[in-house]
C-alpha cells in the first residue's frame, strides 16, 4: 500500500470540549479509514454528537485537531467542512420542513448564495432525482418534508447527503426507530455507499444494526474513547457491555 492509501480521509487528534464544568469530549483520537463504516457507540451523553459538532466546525474545540487527508484543518466552519466533501446528518434531522422532499434534496446541492448557481442545473436535478430514487422517495418528492412519515423523514435526511456526492458521511443515529423493512433498505444503502469508497461514520445505539453494518466500532464513554476494533471483539467485551447497558459497578 502506498502511504497515500493509508492516510485516513478524516482523523481527529486530541479533540477536547468542555461545557462549563462538564468535559463532553476529552482527548479523543479517531481515524476513519477510507471506504469503511465506523460505528460510534456509547451510552447517552457519551459525547458522540459533540464529537460530530467538533469535526464539522459547528462547535470550536478547546484543544485538538481535525485532519482531512492527513492535513490539519485549523479553525473552520460548517460551510468550509461541507465544501471539503464532508456531509453530516442530525440526530433531530433538521429537514427543511416547509419545503418539498425534492426541494430539500435540491437545496442541499446548491451551495452558492447568489441569485444563480454555477454549474449544470440539469445535472443537479438529475442528482436529486437519483438520490430520491435510491432512498425510495420518488413518489414522495412533491410532499412537504413536514408531512412525510417517520421513516421517510429519516431517508430524506439521507437523500440530502447522498445527493451531495460527499466522500465522508457523518450520520447521527440515522437508523433509530426504523421498522425492519426500512432498516434492511438502510443497511443496503450504506453498504453500497461504502462499496463506492465513501467513508462512513455513524452513531448508532442499536447493536444489531451495528453488528450488521459496521466494519469497526469506536466506543465512547464520558467523552473518552474506551476501545476500538472489530465489532465482534468490542461487543464481546463484558466490561464495555456493562458500561453500555448501564450496570457499571
Amino acid at each position: 500500500m502506498t502511504p497515500q492509501a493509508m492516510t485516513p480521509p478524516l482523523a481527529v487528534r486530541g479533540l477536547a470540549k468542555h461545557f462549563g464544568g462538564l468535559a463532553a469530549v476529552q482527548g479523543v483520537d479517531l481515524d476513519l479509514p477510507a471506504g469503511l463504516i465506523t460505528a460510534l457507540v456509547g451510552p447517552n451523553g457519551a459525547g458522540k454528537t459533540t464529537l460530530f459538532n467538533l469535526i464539522t466546525g459547528a462547535l470550536a474545540p478547546d484543544a485538538g485537531d481535525v485532519l482531512l487527508d492527513g492535513a490539519r484543518l485549523g479553525p473552520t466552519t460548517p460551510r468550509q467542512i461541507a465544501r471539503r466533501g464532508v456531509a453530516r446528518s442530525f440526530q433531530d434531522l433538521r429537514l427543511f420542513d416547509h419545503m418539498s422532499a425534492g426541494e430539500n434534496v435540491l437545496a442541499a446541492i446548491e451551495p452558492a448564495a447568489w441569485f444563480w448557481q454555477p454549474g449544470d442545473a440539469a445535472a443537479r436535478r438529475a442528482a436529486a432525482a437519483a438520490a430520491l430514487a435510491d432512498t425510495g422517495l420518488t413518489a414522495a418528492a412533491g410532499a412537504l418534508a413536514a408531512d412525510l412519515a417517520y421513516a421517510e423523514r429519516k431517508f430524506l435526511s439521507l437523500a440530502r447527503i447522498l445527493a451531495t456526492g460527499a466522500r465522508i458521511w457523518l450520520l447521527d443515529e440515522p437508523a433509530s426507530g426504523l421498522d425492519p423493512a426500512s432498516r434492511a433498505r438502510f443497511v443496503a444503502l450504506l453498504r453500497a455507499a461504502a462499496g463506492r469508497g465513501i467513508t462512513v461514520c455513524l452513531i448508532e445505539h442499536n447493536l444489531d444494526i451495528v453488528t450488521e453494518l459496521a466494519d469497526r466500532i469506536v466506543f465512547l464513554d464520558q467523552g473518552r474513547k474506551l476501545a476500538e476494533g472489530a465489532p465482534e471483539a468490542i461487543l464481546r467485551d463484558p466490561a464495555l457491555a456493562a458500561i453500555y447497558f448501564g450496570d457499571r459497578a
Binding site: 464539522t56 459547528a58 466552519t77 460548517p78 460551510r79 461541507a82 465544501r83 456531509a87 453530516r88 442530525f90 433538521r94 429537514l95 427543511f96 420542513d97 416547509h98 419545503m99 426541494e103 430539500n104 435540491l106 437545496a107 442541499a108 446541492i109 446548491e110 451551495p111 452558492a112 448564495a113 447568489w114 441569485f115 444563480w116 448557481q117 412537504l144 413536514a146 408531512d147 440530502r160 451531495t164
Partner: protein
C-alpha cells in the same frame, strides 16, 4: 367616487409591492423585521428629492428609491443580522425608532415634520402621467413586474436556499450555504423593492412626511404579509387588499358615528386578525391546515 377608487387602487398596488417585498425577508428568509416602513421611507424621500430637484420621472424616481433603500439596508441591517432570530425583531424595532426620529429631525433632507410638499405630477420619459388611470397602470406594472422578479428568484435556487435557512439554519450551513450572505441579499432585495414602492408612493401622494414611515406602518405591512400568507406569492397581495380595503369598506358602514369609526375599525381589525391566526395560522393564501 371614481377618483376615490382610482386613488385606492393605486395605493393598493403600491402597498401590495411593499408587502411582497417584506415577504422576501419574513416569509422566505424567516427574518422578522418591524422596520420595513423605514426602507419604504428612504425610497419615498429619495424619490421625492429626485422628483423635486431633477425630474418627476417614474423610472428615475423609483430607481433612486430602490437604490437608496437597498444600499442603506446593507449599512443598517448588516450589523443587526449578526443577531439571531427573535433578537433581530428587537434590533429592527430599535432601527425603526431611530429612523422615525431621524426622519423628523433631518429637515434639510426630509422636510422634518412638515415633510416634502409640492411634488410635481409624475411623468414617464417626458409623457405626462397626470391622469390617474395612467399612473394606476404604472403602479400595476411595478407591482406585477416586482412580483415576477420575486417569483423567478423565490422559485429558483436563491429562494430554496433562503427557505432552507429559514427552516434550519444549522442544516443549511452544514450543506455549505453562506447564511450571512444569503440573509444580506434577501434584506437588500426586499428593501430595494420597498424603496421602489416608496418612490411611487411619493409620486402618488405628491407629498411625503414621517407619518407614513412609522412603527404603525411597519406593523401594518407585517400584518398584511402574515394575514395573507407569509412565504406564498399571492399572500401579501391578499393581505394588502384585505387590510387596505377593509378600513375603506368599514367607513361606509351605517350607524357608526364618524368620531367612533377609528375605534370600531381597530376593534374589527384586531378581532379578525386574532381569529385568522387561530383558524388559519398559515394565512389566507397559505396552507389550510397550518402545521407547527
Amino acid at each position: 367616487m371614481t377618483a376615490y377608487l382610482l386613488n385606492l387602487a393605486q395605493l393598493a398596488a403600491i402597498f401590495g409591492l411593499l408587502a411582497a417585498s417584506l415577504n422576501v425577508l419574513v416569509g422566505y428568509g424567516g427574518i422578522f423585521s418591524v422596520a420595513h416602513a423605514v426602507f419604504f421611507g428612504f425610497g419615498a424621500y429619495a424619490g421625492a428629492q429626485i422628483a423635486l430637484n431633477v425630474a418627476p420621472d417614474v423610472l428615475l424616481v423609483s430607481a433612486a428609491g430602490g437604490l437608496v433603500a437597498g444600499v442603506l439596508s446593507l449599512a443598517l441591517a448588516l450589523p443587526a443580522l449578526r443577531v439571531r432570530g427573535e433578537y433581530f425583531v428587537v434590533a429592527s424595532l430599535g432601527l425603526q425608532m431611530v429612523a422615525t426620529t431621524a426622519f423628523t429631525e433631518a429637515e434639510p433632507v426630509t422636510g422634518g415634520l412638515g415633510g416634502l410638499v409640492g411634488i410635481p405630477p409624475p411623468q414617464l420619459l417626458g409623457l405626462s402621467l397626470a391622469s390617474p388611470w395612467a399612473f394606476l397602470a404604472v403602479c400595476l406594472a411595478a407591482l406585477f413586474g416586482g412580483l415576477a422578479v420575486m417569483r423567478l428568484l423565490m422559485r429558483g435556487s436563491f429562494g430554496r436556499s433562503l427557505m432552507a435557512l429559514r427552516d434550519s439554519e444549522s442544516a443549511a450551513e452544514a450543506f455549505g450555504k453562506n447564511v450571512a450572505l444569503l440573509k444580506t441579499l434577501a434584506v437588500a432585495l426586499g428593501c430595494a423593492i420597498a424603496g421602489v414602492a416608496g418612490g411611487l408612493f411619493a409620486l402618488q401622494m405628491a407629498f411625503v412626511n414621517v407619518e407614513s414611515f412609522t412603527l404603525d406602518q411597519s406593523v401594518l405591512v407585517l400584518a398584511m404579509v402574515i394575514v395573507g400568507g407569509a412565504g406564498t406569492l399571492a399572500g401579501p397581495l391578499v393581505g394588502t387588499l384585505l387590510l387596505l380595503l377593509l378600513p375603506a369598506a368599514l367607513s361606509f358602514l351605517p350607524g357608526i358615528p364618524p368620531t367612533e369609526i377609528g375605534a370600531v375599525q381597530q376593534a374589527i381589525y384586531g378581532l379578525a386578525m386574532t381569529l385568522l391566526m387561530i383558524f388559519r395560522p398559515a394565512g389566507l393564501a397559505g396552507r389550510a391546515q397550518g402545521k407547527r
